[in-house]
Point group: C3
Chain length 118, copies 3
Amino acid sequence: MGILKVLFHVNEMERWDTALGNITNLIKDVGRDGVQIKLLANGPSVAAYSDAARLEAMKLLAADGTVFLACRNSLKKMCSGADVCLTEEALPPFIKVVPAGITEIIRSQGEGFAYVKP
Amino acid sequence: MGILKVLFHVNEMERWDTALGNITNLIKDVGRDGVQIKLLANGPSVAAYSDAARLEAMKLLAADGTVFLACRNSLKKMCSGADVCLTEEALPPFIKVVPAGITEIIRSQGEGFAYVKP
Amino acid sequence: MGILKVLFHVNEMERWDTALGNITNLIKDVGRDGVQIKLLANGPSVAAYSDAARLEAMKLLAADGTVFLACRNSLKKMCSGADVCLTEEALPPFIKVVPAGITEIIRSQGEGFAYVKP
């Protein structure tokens, strides 16, 4: 059935480890050329994009072709709160920002990406 | 790619706020005419359909075209418990009841609706 | 639209009861011949495959045609930990092992199975 395509949806901080583990296992199983992988983070989970330890793991997966996406609405919402503000400019280059995460999820499924909620 | 279609699946009370926020952002992003939205509540989450504050927010989204669905099995199960009983007749008119929520989820995906679990 | 097809994804122990209840309601709604059902367990949720009470319930659903799948990666990971080790040989015959659960989820969606995360 040709190359596999999948979007992982992460919207809670506590699901990141599972998601990154799933992606690692998937690449081990079908090879980096056997699958096209996107991970879309929205909601509070975007805060992981400022976590050095997790970014290190993501960077390795990005080098294998995984595309990491951040929802702009969620980044803005985080900055309107007190704790952490993560500007788009501060994001590592392997993370792409999309205007609305949910729209990306819907369009991706329309383009044949499977949906997985880790 | 024409109009987008999406079904949001809510089966826990604590996911309602995220779901309604997702829908609000989605409509802001693509416009009320750019997307066909269903929200299917089953399990304990159907209790939100008796919560006045949440119903107010849903009503606004329903006016923009979002279809709110309740699983009949879940309504019945709630009524067999002690706390709250929500009869179908007591539901606001913008909420539709489906016999089995899971069947609705499966059929919708077969009809081209993307699946999102907030 | 012909026979329905669905894959249930369970990756947390606490979602098993909901998943098995969903399947029971689904079969009640459309009949055992109206739907093709797979349940894929990965992550810590595979431990349920060593739980006698839950296996009893699964066995009944399996007799109605539900296919129960276990992720081999997850079984191995459980065995590398301290508590419980569940070997493939110890699994009841109605449970099939797949090399990587995520791959199964992606392929199934490509084959027209709806995705449900209980």
